[in-house]
Symmetry: C2
Subunit: 199 residues, 2 copies
Protein backbone atom coordinates (compact mmCIF):
# COMPACT_ATOMS: atom_id res chain seq x y z
CA UNK A 1 0.00 0.00 0.00
CA UNK A 2 2.58 2.58 1.09
CA UNK A 3 4.46 4.25 -1.72
CA UNK A 4 8.13 3.97 -0.89
CA UNK A 5 9.22 5.70 -4.08
CA UNK A 6 11.02 8.98 -3.32
CA UNK A 7 9.45 12.20 -4.59
CA UNK A 8 11.13 13.24 -7.81
CA UNK A 9 12.27 16.77 -8.37
CA UNK A 10 9.47 18.89 -9.78
CA UNK A 11 9.51 21.87 -12.10
CA UNK A 12 9.81 25.25 -10.45
CA UNK A 13 6.52 26.12 -8.77
CA UNK A 14 5.22 22.56 -8.84
CA UNK A 15 5.92 19.98 -6.20
CA UNK A 16 4.62 16.47 -5.78
CA UNK A 17 2.53 17.63 -2.83
CA UNK A 18 0.75 20.15 -5.10
CA UNK A 19 -0.16 17.31 -7.46
CA UNK A 20 -1.46 15.16 -4.60
CA UNK A 21 -3.41 18.08 -3.10
CA UNK A 22 -5.03 18.98 -6.44
CA UNK A 23 -5.88 15.33 -7.06
CA UNK A 24 -7.53 14.92 -3.66
CA UNK A 25 -9.54 18.14 -4.18
CA UNK A 26 -10.81 16.96 -7.56
CA UNK A 27 -11.59 13.43 -6.33
CA UNK A 28 -13.60 14.91 -3.43
CA UNK A 29 -15.41 17.40 -5.69
CA UNK A 30 -16.43 15.15 -8.55
CA UNK A 31 -15.55 11.61 -7.49
CA UNK A 32 -12.47 9.52 -8.27
CA UNK A 33 -14.11 7.62 -11.12
CA UNK A 34 -15.28 10.83 -12.79
CA UNK A 35 -11.87 12.54 -12.60
CA UNK A 36 -9.66 12.24 -15.69
CA UNK A 37 -5.94 12.88 -16.06
CA UNK A 38 -6.94 15.89 -18.21
CA UNK A 39 -8.96 17.27 -15.28
CA UNK A 40 -5.78 17.02 -13.18
CA UNK A 41 -3.50 18.70 -15.71
CA UNK A 42 -6.18 21.37 -16.25
CA UNK A 43 -6.43 22.09 -12.53
CA UNK A 44 -2.66 22.31 -12.14
CA UNK A 45 -2.09 24.10 -15.44
CA UNK A 46 0.60 21.62 -16.53
CA UNK A 47 1.12 19.18 -19.39
CA UNK A 48 0.62 15.43 -18.99
CA UNK A 49 4.36 14.85 -19.14
CA UNK A 50 4.86 17.35 -16.30
CA UNK A 51 2.22 15.49 -14.28
CA UNK A 52 3.86 12.12 -14.94
CA UNK A 53 7.14 13.64 -13.79
CA UNK A 54 5.62 13.54 -10.28
CA UNK A 55 3.32 10.51 -10.24
CA UNK A 56 2.84 7.33 -12.25
CA UNK A 57 -0.94 7.45 -12.48
CA UNK A 58 -4.23 8.79 -11.12
CA UNK A 59 -4.36 5.62 -8.97
CA UNK A 60 -1.01 6.49 -7.39
CA UNK A 61 -2.35 9.88 -6.26
CA UNK A 62 -5.29 8.09 -4.63
CA UNK A 63 -2.97 5.54 -3.02
CA UNK A 64 -0.68 8.21 -1.54
CA UNK A 65 -3.61 10.26 -0.18
CA UNK A 66 -5.31 7.22 1.37
CA UNK A 67 -2.01 6.16 2.92
CA UNK A 68 -1.76 9.58 4.58
CA UNK A 69 -5.25 9.17 6.09
CA UNK A 70 -4.83 5.54 7.14
CA UNK A 71 -1.24 6.04 8.30
CA UNK A 72 -2.41 8.88 10.56
CA UNK A 73 -5.18 6.76 12.07
CA UNK A 74 -2.85 3.79 12.56
CA UNK A 75 -0.26 5.99 14.28
CA UNK A 76 -2.96 7.34 16.61
CA UNK A 77 -3.97 3.75 17.39
CA UNK A 78 -0.37 2.66 18.04
CA UNK A 79 0.01 5.62 20.39
CA UNK A 80 -3.27 4.76 22.18
CA UNK A 81 -2.12 1.15 22.64
CA UNK A 82 0.85 2.30 24.75
CA UNK A 83 -1.55 3.51 27.52
CA UNK A 84 -1.94 1.58 30.76
CA UNK A 85 -5.72 1.08 31.07
CA UNK A 86 -8.45 0.27 28.54
CA UNK A 87 -10.18 3.52 29.54
CA UNK A 88 -7.04 5.51 28.70
CA UNK A 89 -6.56 3.61 25.43
CA UNK A 90 -10.15 4.30 24.34
CA UNK A 91 -10.05 7.99 25.24
CA UNK A 92 -6.65 8.29 23.50
CA UNK A 93 -7.89 6.77 20.22
CA UNK A 94 -11.01 8.99 20.21
CA UNK A 95 -8.92 12.14 20.76
CA UNK A 96 -6.30 10.92 18.28
CA UNK A 97 -8.86 10.16 15.57
CA UNK A 98 -10.40 13.65 15.94
CA UNK A 99 -6.90 15.15 15.56
CA UNK A 100 -6.20 13.11 12.39
CA UNK A 101 -9.60 14.00 10.88
CA UNK A 102 -9.13 17.70 11.46
CA UNK A 103 -5.46 17.72 10.35
CA UNK A 104 -5.96 15.54 7.26
CA UNK A 105 -9.58 16.38 6.44
CA UNK A 106 -9.33 16.11 2.60
CA UNK A 107 -7.55 12.76 2.70
CA UNK A 108 -9.95 11.31 5.32
CA UNK A 109 -12.95 12.61 3.34
CA UNK A 110 -11.62 10.63 0.37
CA UNK A 111 -11.18 7.53 2.56
CA UNK A 112 -14.74 7.74 3.92
CA UNK A 113 -16.28 8.08 0.46
CA UNK A 114 -14.48 5.12 -1.11
CA UNK A 115 -16.66 2.84 -3.18
CA UNK A 116 -14.22 -0.03 -3.68
CA UNK A 117 -14.19 0.12 -7.49
CA UNK A 118 -10.43 -0.49 -7.88
CA UNK A 119 -7.63 -2.55 -6.24
CA UNK A 120 -6.26 0.57 -4.50
CA UNK A 121 -9.70 1.30 -3.01
CA UNK A 122 -10.27 -2.31 -1.95
CA UNK A 123 -6.87 -2.44 -0.23
CA UNK A 124 -7.62 0.80 1.64
CA UNK A 125 -11.06 -0.47 2.69
CA UNK A 126 -9.46 -3.65 4.02
CA UNK A 127 -6.90 -1.58 5.97
CA UNK A 128 -9.74 0.58 7.36
CA UNK A 129 -11.61 -2.58 8.42
CA UNK A 130 -8.54 -3.78 10.35
CA UNK A 131 -8.38 -0.40 12.12
CA UNK A 132 -12.11 -0.63 12.98
CA UNK A 133 -11.68 -4.13 14.35
CA UNK A 134 -8.82 -3.05 16.61
CA UNK A 135 -10.88 -0.12 17.91
CA UNK A 136 -13.81 -2.50 18.55
CA UNK A 137 -11.38 -4.56 20.67
CA UNK A 138 -10.57 -1.41 22.69
CA UNK A 139 -14.29 -0.80 23.24
CA UNK A 140 -14.71 -4.41 24.38
CA UNK A 141 -11.82 -4.02 26.84
CA UNK A 142 -13.34 -0.76 28.08
CA UNK A 143 -16.62 -2.63 28.67
CA UNK A 144 -14.77 -5.26 30.73
CA UNK A 145 -13.19 -2.42 32.74
CA UNK A 146 -16.56 -0.72 33.32
CA UNK A 147 -15.93 2.49 31.33
CA UNK A 148 -18.49 1.50 28.68
CA UNK A 149 -21.94 -0.02 29.27
CA UNK A 150 -21.83 -3.79 28.87
CA UNK A 151 -25.37 -4.03 27.44
CA UNK A 152 -24.27 -2.47 24.13
CA UNK A 153 -22.77 -4.51 21.31
CA UNK A 154 -19.13 -3.37 21.06
CA UNK A 155 -19.23 -3.20 17.25
CA UNK A 156 -22.40 -1.06 17.29
CA UNK A 157 -20.92 1.22 19.97
CA UNK A 158 -17.72 1.61 17.89
CA UNK A 159 -19.75 2.48 14.79
CA UNK A 160 -21.80 5.08 16.67
CA UNK A 161 -18.65 6.70 18.16
CA UNK A 162 -16.96 6.78 14.76
CA UNK A 163 -20.19 8.00 13.17
CA UNK A 164 -19.85 11.08 15.37
CA UNK A 165 -16.12 11.44 14.75
CA UNK A 166 -16.33 10.86 10.99
CA UNK A 167 -19.13 13.43 10.63
CA UNK A 168 -16.42 16.03 11.37
CA UNK A 169 -15.11 15.74 7.81
CA UNK A 170 -18.47 17.12 6.62
CA UNK A 171 -18.71 20.15 8.87
CA UNK A 172 -15.37 20.94 10.55
CA UNK A 173 -13.82 24.12 9.10
CA UNK A 174 -10.03 24.41 9.59
CA UNK A 175 -10.31 28.22 9.51
CA UNK A 176 -13.30 28.20 11.91
CA UNK A 177 -13.35 29.00 15.61
CA UNK A 178 -13.33 25.39 16.91
CA UNK A 179 -10.02 24.14 18.35
CA UNK A 180 -9.31 20.49 17.37
CA UNK A 181 -8.13 19.53 20.86
CA UNK A 182 -11.23 21.04 22.51
CA UNK A 183 -13.35 19.34 19.84
CA UNK A 184 -11.74 16.01 20.78
CA UNK A 185 -12.72 16.59 24.42
CA UNK A 186 -16.27 17.51 23.35
CA UNK A 187 -16.71 14.39 21.22
CA UNK A 188 -15.34 12.28 24.05
CA UNK A 189 -17.71 13.94 26.56
CA UNK A 190 -20.75 13.33 24.33
CA UNK A 191 -19.68 9.76 23.49
CA UNK A 192 -19.14 8.81 27.14
CA UNK A 193 -21.72 10.90 28.99
CA UNK A 194 -24.27 11.73 26.32
CA UNK A 195 -26.26 14.90 25.86
CA UNK A 196 -28.44 14.64 28.97
CA UNK A 197 -27.19 16.61 31.97
CA UNK A 198 -25.80 14.36 34.73
CA UNK A 199 -27.52 14.88 38.05
CA UNK B 1 -38.05 20.14 -6.39
CA UNK B 2 -40.75 17.51 -6.17
CA UNK B 3 -41.64 15.84 -9.43
CA UNK B 4 -45.38 16.17 -9.82
CA UNK B 5 -45.42 14.43 -13.17
CA UNK B 6 -47.40 11.19 -13.03
CA UNK B 7 -45.56 7.94 -13.73
CA UNK B 8 -46.15 6.92 -17.33
CA UNK B 9 -47.06 3.38 -18.16
CA UNK B 10 -43.96 1.24 -18.61
CA UNK B 11 -43.29 -1.73 -20.84
CA UNK B 12 -44.11 -5.13 -19.41
CA UNK B 13 -41.52 -6.07 -16.79
CA UNK B 14 -40.22 -2.52 -16.42
CA UNK B 15 -41.71 0.04 -14.10
CA UNK B 16 -40.61 3.54 -13.29
CA UNK B 17 -39.58 2.37 -9.82
CA UNK B 18 -37.16 -0.14 -11.40
CA UNK B 19 -35.53 2.70 -13.32
CA UNK B 20 -35.21 4.85 -10.19
CA UNK B 21 -33.87 1.92 -8.16
CA UNK B 22 -31.26 1.02 -10.80
CA UNK B 23 -30.23 4.67 -11.11
CA UNK B 24 -29.77 5.08 -7.36
CA UNK B 25 -27.72 1.86 -7.21
CA UNK B 26 -25.41 3.04 -9.99
CA UNK B 27 -25.07 6.57 -8.56
CA UNK B 28 -24.11 5.08 -5.18
CA UNK B 29 -21.66 2.61 -6.74
CA UNK B 30 -19.77 4.85 -9.11
CA UNK B 31 -20.94 8.39 -8.40
CA UNK B 32 -23.61 10.47 -10.12
CA UNK B 33 -21.12 12.39 -12.28
CA UNK B 34 -19.47 9.18 -13.51
CA UNK B 35 -22.77 7.47 -14.43
CA UNK B 36 -23.88 7.77 -18.05
CA UNK B 37 -27.27 7.12 -19.60
CA UNK B 38 -25.63 4.11 -21.32
CA UNK B 39 -24.68 2.73 -17.89
CA UNK B 40 -28.36 3.01 -16.93
CA UNK B 41 -29.71 1.31 -20.06
CA UNK B 42 -26.98 -1.36 -19.71
CA UNK B 43 -27.96 -2.09 -16.11
CA UNK B 44 -31.65 -2.30 -16.98
CA UNK B 45 -31.13 -4.09 -20.29
CA UNK B 46 -33.32 -1.60 -22.16
CA UNK B 47 -32.90 0.85 -25.03
CA UNK B 48 -32.54 4.59 -24.50
CA UNK B 49 -36.05 5.18 -25.83
CA UNK B 50 -37.43 2.67 -23.32
CA UNK B 51 -35.57 4.53 -20.56
CA UNK B 52 -36.91 7.91 -21.71
CA UNK B 53 -40.40 6.39 -21.67
CA UNK B 54 -40.09 6.48 -17.86
CA UNK B 55 -37.92 9.51 -17.08
CA UNK B 56 -36.81 12.69 -18.81
CA UNK B 57 -33.16 12.57 -17.81
CA UNK B 58 -30.48 11.24 -15.46
CA UNK B 59 -31.05 14.38 -13.39
CA UNK B 60 -34.74 13.52 -12.96
CA UNK B 61 -33.85 10.12 -11.48
CA UNK B 62 -31.58 11.91 -9.00
CA UNK B 63 -34.30 14.46 -8.20
CA UNK B 64 -36.94 11.79 -7.54
CA UNK B 65 -34.61 9.74 -5.32
CA UNK B 66 -33.50 12.78 -3.31
CA UNK B 67 -37.12 13.82 -2.90
CA UNK B 68 -37.89 10.39 -1.40
CA UNK B 69 -35.08 10.80 1.14
CA UNK B 70 -35.82 14.44 2.01
CA UNK B 71 -39.58 13.94 1.96
CA UNK B 72 -39.21 11.09 4.46
CA UNK B 73 -37.07 13.21 6.79
CA UNK B 74 -39.44 16.18 6.52
CA UNK B 75 -42.44 13.97 7.31
CA UNK B 76 -40.63 12.61 10.38
CA UNK B 77 -39.93 16.20 11.44
CA UNK B 78 -43.55 17.29 10.90
CA UNK B 79 -44.67 14.32 13.00
CA UNK B 80 -42.15 15.18 15.74
CA UNK B 81 -43.37 18.78 15.83
CA UNK B 82 -46.86 17.64 16.87
CA UNK B 83 -45.49 16.42 20.25
CA UNK B 84 -46.15 18.35 23.44
CA UNK B 85 -42.68 18.84 24.96
CA UNK B 86 -39.29 19.66 23.45
CA UNK B 87 -37.97 16.40 24.94
CA UNK B 88 -40.67 14.41 23.12
CA UNK B 89 -40.06 16.33 19.89
CA UNK B 90 -36.32 15.63 19.99
CA UNK B 91 -36.71 11.94 20.82
CA UNK B 92 -39.37 11.64 18.08
CA UNK B 93 -37.15 13.16 15.38
CA UNK B 94 -34.17 10.95 16.36
CA UNK B 95 -36.32 7.80 16.20
CA UNK B 96 -38.01 9.03 13.01
CA UNK B 97 -34.71 9.80 11.28
CA UNK B 98 -33.39 6.31 12.11
CA UNK B 99 -36.57 4.81 10.63
CA UNK B 100 -36.20 6.85 7.41
CA UNK B 101 -32.50 5.97 7.07
CA UNK B 102 -33.13 2.26 7.47
CA UNK B 103 -36.26 2.25 5.23
CA UNK B 104 -34.78 4.43 2.47
CA UNK B 105 -31.10 3.59 2.87
CA UNK B 106 -30.09 3.86 -0.84
CA UNK B 107 -31.80 7.23 -1.31
CA UNK B 108 -30.38 8.67 1.93
CA UNK B 109 -26.90 7.36 1.02
CA UNK B 110 -27.21 9.35 -2.21
CA UNK B 111 -28.32 12.45 -0.28
CA UNK B 112 -25.41 12.22 2.17
CA UNK B 113 -22.82 11.88 -0.62
CA UNK B 114 -24.02 14.85 -2.67
CA UNK B 115 -21.27 17.14 -3.91
CA UNK B 116 -23.42 20.01 -5.18
CA UNK B 117 -22.22 19.86 -8.80
CA UNK B 118 -25.65 20.48 -10.37
CA UNK B 119 -28.82 22.54 -9.72
CA UNK B 120 -30.70 19.42 -8.53
CA UNK B 121 -27.92 18.68 -6.02
CA UNK B 122 -27.72 22.29 -4.83
CA UNK B 123 -31.49 22.44 -4.28
CA UNK B 124 -31.38 19.18 -2.29
CA UNK B 125 -28.46 20.43 -0.18
CA UNK B 126 -30.41 23.61 0.58
CA UNK B 127 -33.46 21.56 1.59
CA UNK B 128 -31.22 19.39 3.81
CA UNK B 129 -29.78 22.54 5.42
CA UNK B 130 -33.32 23.74 6.27
CA UNK B 131 -34.04 20.35 7.89
CA UNK B 132 -30.79 20.55 9.89
CA UNK B 133 -31.64 24.07 11.07
CA UNK B 134 -35.06 23.01 12.29
CA UNK B 135 -33.56 20.07 14.18
CA UNK B 136 -30.98 22.43 15.72
CA UNK B 137 -33.96 24.49 16.95
CA UNK B 138 -35.38 21.35 18.58
CA UNK B 139 -32.04 20.72 20.30
CA UNK B 140 -32.00 24.33 21.53
CA UNK B 141 -35.54 23.94 22.93
CA UNK B 142 -34.50 20.65 24.58
CA UNK B 143 -31.60 22.51 26.20
CA UNK B 144 -34.01 25.13 27.56
CA UNK B 145 -36.15 22.30 28.93
CA UNK B 146 -33.15 20.60 30.56
CA UNK B 147 -33.11 17.41 28.48
CA UNK B 148 -29.83 18.39 26.80
CA UNK B 149 -26.76 19.90 28.50
CA UNK B 150 -26.73 23.68 28.09
CA UNK B 151 -22.91 23.90 27.88
CA UNK B 152 -22.89 22.35 24.40
CA UNK B 153 -23.39 24.42 21.25
CA UNK B 154 -26.77 23.28 19.83
CA UNK B 155 -25.43 23.12 16.25
CA UNK B 156 -22.44 20.99 17.30
CA UNK B 157 -24.72 18.70 19.35
CA UNK B 158 -27.07 18.32 16.34
CA UNK B 159 -24.16 17.44 14.07
CA UNK B 160 -22.82 14.84 16.51
CA UNK B 161 -26.28 13.23 16.90
CA UNK B 162 -26.79 13.16 13.13
CA UNK B 163 -23.21 11.95 12.67
CA UNK B 164 -24.25 8.85 14.63
CA UNK B 165 -27.58 8.51 12.84
CA UNK B 166 -26.16 9.10 9.36
CA UNK B 167 -23.41 6.52 9.91
CA UNK B 168 -26.20 3.93 9.74
CA UNK B 169 -26.30 4.21 5.95
CA UNK B 170 -22.73 2.84 5.90
CA UNK B 171 -23.22 -0.20 8.09
CA UNK B 172 -26.93 -1.00 8.60
CA UNK B 173 -27.93 -4.18 6.73
CA UNK B 174 -31.68 -4.45 6.00
CA UNK B 175 -31.38 -8.27 5.99
CA UNK B 176 -29.30 -8.25 9.20
CA UNK B 177 -30.45 -9.08 12.73
CA UNK B 178 -30.87 -5.47 13.95
CA UNK B 179 -34.47 -4.23 14.25
CA UNK B 180 -34.86 -0.58 13.10
CA UNK B 181 -37.10 0.39 16.04
CA UNK B 182 -34.70 -1.12 18.60
CA UNK B 183 -31.83 0.58 16.76
CA UNK B 184 -33.65 3.91 17.12
CA UNK B 185 -33.91 3.33 20.89
CA UNK B 186 -30.22 2.40 21.02
CA UNK B 187 -29.11 5.54 19.14
CA UNK B 188 -31.31 7.64 21.40
CA UNK B 189 -29.90 5.97 24.52
CA UNK B 190 -26.30 6.57 23.40
CA UNK B 191 -27.03 10.14 22.26
CA UNK B 192 -28.72 11.10 25.54
CA UNK B 193 -26.88 8.99 28.12
CA UNK B 194 -23.61 8.16 26.42
CA UNK B 195 -21.57 4.99 26.62
CA UNK B 196 -20.52 5.26 30.27
CA UNK B 197 -22.66 3.28 32.71
CA UNK B 198 -24.84 5.52 34.87
CA UNK B 199 -24.26 4.96 38.59
Amino acid sequence: MTSTRPARRGRPGHHREDVIRAGVELFNQQGYDATSVSDLTGRLGVTKSALYHHVDSKAQILEIALDEALGGLEEALADALTRETAADRLTAIIGGAVRVLTAKQPQVTLLLRLRGNSPVELAALERRRRFDHRVTELVREAQAEGLVRADLDAAVATRLIFGMINSLVEWYRPDGPVDPVLLGHEVLAVALDGLRPRD
